[in-house]
């Protein structure tokens, strides 16, 4: 593998800065207009309704102003992005069929090992389309569908058409409109009624081409009484100009079903990560978002749960780590629109080396959502005096019969804790590392084993050199 990229940048010195020479079948032009949207739809041989959906979304995208709150999005050059890149002509059916350079990239992420162990299905998104999918036979027999969304549109057009865009309509926000216009790839998961998928479904997402926009679209449908744990992880190589990642994730959790969605986001620190994730939970359904944000230049991501029928539950666990030049603005939204709904939000954010991390969230209790409960807890750890932590929770309560609590603390690593560990012979940097690991422990323990290991390893990497 080359040690410098075409721009002469030594990529080896960056932690996840490995990259592969670009070799793509088709590359759309930079920038976006209705013709490009048409071309994307044509290249994918999509049905007319999807083409119309894309064009409608593009229309809305052009008219919608950029959001003004939160971080400054004015620095993104939307005209300098490739909106669609097709990595290889055919999708690979087994690991051996993958092109060697793509395999090498995955090797460094440890995917084959993961698969060798016990992983059920790997859907890996290299560039804008999934190139590798594998799903255990017995689940296929049960009727579980785990495909990339493009294939799902071809093989299961009726299901896709029934649910696509119903949770996050193109009019929801400007970036959802952009995604709706140019989406490509992502996962489609369908769990039939009563089926419990015991081993997590996993997909890795990667950005590799310079200025490659990644607009994946994930749709998960849990029929009544089913269970699934979907895991999405991202690591991206480093390039010089800014990349944009703007995904839309839609989840429908029907009566009595439970869905858990786990993300470990580790985009390289020049990626704008602007994602719309939303779930609708019906009667007695449970939706859980576990959201780890370590990478990217800017992340604005507020996984939401709309609890629309009695007994629905929501849980959001969020970890954010902002290092030098990073702004993590994650959070969550829980919308109580039915009686006896419950939500728990736990956020842990860490900022160091001038980074900015925090929590932005909404608890909305509609009139009539009697007996609803919501508890929000935000903790922040600031590791040096140049870093910043923000907490912006909003609670809108239109119902009398409720119990809502919010708590937040901001602190530093206490000298006593450090002293205690060091007096036991632990070196200062390791002690600091242990304290930070302990701080995020409540969330890490909810992760599947290999992700917990990966998260701990990433935090250890981020913490390197934090004690001078």
């Amino acid at each position: 593998m080359a040690t410098t990229n075409p721009l002469g940048i030594n990529v080896e010195k960056y932690k996840y800065g490995f990259f592969e020479p670009e070799k793509y079948v088709f590359k759309a032009r930079r920038g976006l207009n209705a013709a490009v949207v048409n071309e994307i739809s044509h290249m994918k041989s999509e049905p007319d309704w999807m083409r119309a959906f894309r064009l409608h979304a593009y229309e809305h995208y052009t008219q919608r102003p950029m959001p003004k709150w939160g971080a400054d999005l004015g620095t993104i050059d939307f005209d300098n992005i490739f909106y669609y890149i097709k990595p290889t002509e055919k999708r690979a059916d087994s690991w051996d069929d993958l092109p060697p350079e793509i395999k090498r990239t995955y090797d460094r992420l440890g995917i084959p090992e993961a698969e060798r162990k016990f992983l059920a299905g790997v859907g890996a998104q290299y560039e804008s389309e999934s190139v590798y999918h594998n799903l255990k036979d017995e689940w296929e027999k049960l009727g579980v569908i785990f495909l990339d969304t493009d294939s799902a549109l071809k093989q299961h057009p009726d299901i896709v058409r029934e649910y696509f865009g119903t949770v996050v309509p193109p009019e929801d926000n400007k970036l959802a409109a952009l995604n709706s216009a140019v989406w490509s790839g992502g996962s489609f998961v369908y769990i039939p009624a009563g089926v419990r998928v015991d081993i997590p479904l996993q997909a890795y997402f990667r950005i590799n081409a310079q200025n490659a926009g990644q607009f994946e679209r994930t749709l998960i449908i849990c029929e009544p009484g089913s269970y699934v744990h979907y895991v999405e992880g991202c690591t991206a190589p480093i390039y010089t100009s800014d990349s944009l990642h703007s995904a839309v994730v839609e989840i429908i959790v029907k009566e009595g079903a439970r869905c858990r969605y786990t993300t470990i986001q580790n985009w390289s620190t020049n990626v704008y990560n602007l994602v719309t994730k939303r779930a609708v939970a019906y009667r007695d359904a449970t939706m859980e978002w576990i959201d780890g944000n370590l990478g990217s230049k800017l992340t604005m991501k507020y996984p939401s749960v709309y609890m629309v029928e009695p007994g629905a539950k929501a849980e959001i666990l969020s970890v954010a780590f902002a290092g030098k030049g990073q702004h993590q603005d994650p959070g969550g939204k829980v919308i109580h629109a039915a009686p006896h709904t419950q939500s728990v939000v736990v956020s842990k954010s860490i900022s160091k080396d001038g980074g900015r991390a925090g929590y932005r969230g909404l608890v909305k209790i509609y009139d009539g959502a009697k007996g609803s409960r919501s508890a929000v807890r935000c903790d922040a750890l600031i590791l040096d005096d140049r870093s910043r932590s923000d907490t912006y929770p909003t609670m809108e309560i239109d119902e009398e019969d409720v119990s809502i609590t919010h708590e937040a603390t901001v602190s530093k690593v206490s000298d006593e804790q450090l002293f205690y560990l060091m007096s036991r012979g632990v070196k200062e940097d390791e002690a600091m590392n242990m304290i930070v690991r302990g701080f995020v422990e409540p969330i890490v323990k909810e992760l599947p084993l290999e992700y917990a290991v990966e998260l701990n390893r990433l935090i250890a990497l981020e913490m390197e050199g934090s004690v001078g």
Partner: protein
Amino acid sequence: MVTTLAPAGFTRRAVEALSERLADPRWMRDFRLDAFKVYERLAVPTTADEEWRRTDLSGVRWDAFSVDSEPVAGPTERPELPAGVIFTDMRSAVAEHPDLVREHFMRTVVRPDESKFCALHAALWNGGTFLHVPPNAEVTVPLVSEAWIRSDGSALFPHTLIIAEAGSRVTLLDQFGSYAGEWPAFVDGIVEIILRDSAQVRYIAHQDWMAGVTEVGMLRARLARDSSLNSLVVGLGGRVVKSNSESLLEGPGASSEMLGFIFGHNGQHFDLHTLQEHRAPHTFSDLLYKNAVKDHARSVFFGMIRVHQGAQKTNAFQANRNLILSDGAKADSIPNLEIMANDLRCTHGSATSRLNEEHLFYLMSRGLRRLDAVRMVVEGFFAELFDRIPLEDVRARLHGDVDRKMVQ
């Protein structure tokens, strides 16, 4: 978007007439006219502005108000005070202590160009209280001042300015009310408090307008080294109330206690914004807002703790508790933190709940009527707040306020 707020009532002509009537010196007249220019330049805030997102003024008929040109506010009584203490109405202060007023009045704490309503206030202030406590003077009796709405359709711009010099101590109770009648009226009040090194000030704003009043208000204090402020904001009356309470902790060792007691009924709307701004190390702030709403009332608590870089060893606390007493009442809570220092302790908490039926059941099983049981639980809700007010008269009055609001 520039819908003018300047019909018959709020015009340059009105500013000139008021200035003449109050016999302003030339500098004050110029100050008013300059501020009025700023007012004309700025747009009326709309719900598109984050600060005004939850309070909609678009239905307010600005041309229905005219400035009350009689002095509307000032000290209620003038007890005997230590030598050098100035406690007088704003108009007399302008005449008798022009240097002090000119140096501080809307210059160092709140400025006319901050917002349209600050500018309007600067142009049309029509009364208020001036309190200057010289170094190391201690005023032992609580001082009382007041502002009144006296007629239908009047616009009130009361101004309170407190300057507590180094080492001084003083307590001021500011009362705001209506003479009679549920008149539509507009109030745009500003309170400025300057605390020099080691000064101690207790300030209570007791607002009990009749229904029909639209109020925008600002209370801001600047705290120097080792000074301490205890403030209490009481919000009971009015139809739409949007007010800000801000403490700027600028000297090491400064400390601010910020309390809020809000009780809304019928269709009342309270939108309370608070700011605890820590600009120096070793500063302390502790905020507790207790809001109760019944009928179709709505309360909004929007709090911000901002700790600047270098403000190490800061302790900042913010708590908001809301009690929703009726189906149909609403309470929003938005407690924010922006922290740019690392060696500190900073917490905030918010809880919203309704009456605890078990508590009520317990009390009723002891023979209390439901009405009395409810009253007792509501009293209990506020007790944590009232217990922190060391003035017995004020506490008794607040208990009375709760009883009255319960049956209103």
